[in-house]
Symmetry: C2
Subunit: 282 residues, 2 copies
């Protein structure tokens, strides 16, 4: 797929988009982003996504560069230009470009808005993960582009042929480098509660919603690394991955490498939610 990009008011091929290296996003990682799944030409769970985007911007005192309806319109326009109905849109907003590099910023600096379209990713089961120390800062709940620790962790997984790195701090698995973690134990679906240590994704939110609606028992509480190995099921979630079953952690098989029944049930519910969105229901 040829990517269509948007940069500060202009639509253009992604390969032609250019920014100044003085952009605070490039110099200081001073920005936030969202990954927006689009199905049937409309963004999935847009109100939640917009709320999180606004929350991230507020958390770093970044002024909202476009009105809510302009943002939605941007997504629609990018989708039209991609000639696809199902895709992902990457949206990044940075503090913008200033003439000189300072850690502090000026109130009137115009934010940079960058977005582009890309394919929904595909994955081949089974999927394995590794664990690695969580080296990140103390505000992982902000979806910022200050992602070097995430990138380094994920690269370790990549080198080991694993799909994701689970980040462990003080013995607890907080989440993956770009996904949330779930385990199932005796039919109880478990995921860490929201806190500054995790970035609560849209797919995490949807899974909990679906569990509630369909009366699947779930619990938000810390997960220890050792619990992974004795879990009946391990999942990771993200808008690109949806809900993925993990069959091995650090080379150790989970439940003899079998994909579990609760995951199968949840995946059906998740896909049903997407189908409902396609048909304008809910």
């Amino acid at each position: 797929m040829i990517s269509t990009a948007y940069l500060n008011g202009q639509f253009l091929p992604l390969s032609e988009a250019r920014i100044s290296p003085m952009d605070r996003g490039f110099l200081l990682a001073d920005g936030i982003y969202e990954m927006i799944p689009v199905y049937a030409g409309r963004p999935f769970r847009w109100p939640s996504q917009l709320a999180r985007l606004k929350r991230s911007m507020a958390a770093i005192d970044l002024k909202q560069p476009m009105h809510d309806d302009e943002l939605l319109n941007l997504i629609k326009q990018l989708t039209e230009r991609a000639y696809k109905t199902d895709l992902l849109i990457y949206l990044q907003i940075t503090r913008g470009t200033e003439p000189s590099r300072n850690h502090y910023y000026q109130a009137d600096t115009q934010p940079t808005v960058f977005a582009y379209t890309t394919d929904l990713p595909s994955y081949t089961l089974p999927l394995k993960v590794i664990t690695t120390p969580d080296m990140r800062w103390q505000r992982c709940d902000i979806k910022s582009i200050s992602l070097l620790p995430n990138a380094l962790a994920r690269h370790q997984a990549y080198l080991q042929g694993a799909t994701e790195a689970l980040l462990v701090r003080d013995g607890y698995v907080n989440e993956g480098s770009s996904s949330n973690i779930f385990i199932v134990k005796q039919e109880m679906i478990i995921t860490p509660a929201k806190s500054p240590a995790i970035l609560a994704g849209l797919s995490r939110e949807l899974v909990l919603e679906l569990a509630q609606i369909h009366q699947l028992p779930y619990q938000e509480r810390p997960i220890t690394e050792s619990e992974l190995y004795t879990a009946d099921e391990v999942w990771i979630t993200s808008v690109g991955r949806k809900v993925q079953p993990i069959t091995a952690v650090n080379g150790k098989l989970i439940k003899q490498g079998n994909i579990g029944p609760i995951w199968q049930q949840m995946m059906k519910l998740y896909d049903k939610a997407i189908e409902d969105h396609r048909h304008g229901r809910k």
Copy 2:
């Protein structure tokens, strides 16, 4: 001063430099940087600077894009193009641009090398600072561009009319957002020891070297926040700031707001080291 920039093999005005927003420096803060002071047309303490640059690159598995002598030549060429003999050069190296955004990277991706010239900063004494929680990741010893927490801390200081934010974790002052911290107590010069919690700057190294050569007593050990208020002197150091005396912390005067004698002595030694460099001594 008109800034001359260098970007991937080309010299051009800073205002004309452009990169792809798909650069991993912009998307993922996947890069490192150095701030290189130049006096009399030659980089100050280059061997130390080069060693730190190489250390940062190795720490994030970033391949060195230019040979050591090419880097030195780049600094010389930028200096010549700036028509100044005393200046600062900002150098940033990122993992480079890949066609799609992934946390993991490809081994053959060509790093982006960006550099530009700028004036040595000037400051007006007296200087005050604030303290703020140290929210950063666990590898602050890597001079990475993943600087959002530093930028947010420094901006808090800026809003309060302070020159720097000192970062406090577990009651200890690790350093400033872009400087190292020193205190003087009963003629003892004290600064935190090297660790993953601090970025040991070139000016910190020089101050300790000068203390040793001139037999000024010094100690590398943790500094508690409360020690700041009872210190005889508080300094911050960076290559741009050199050694700066701080007269107030969070609005509380240090030693009744008087600038101390050890600072005056150290500042003379520091300036003497620069003079020696100018004359090719040392």
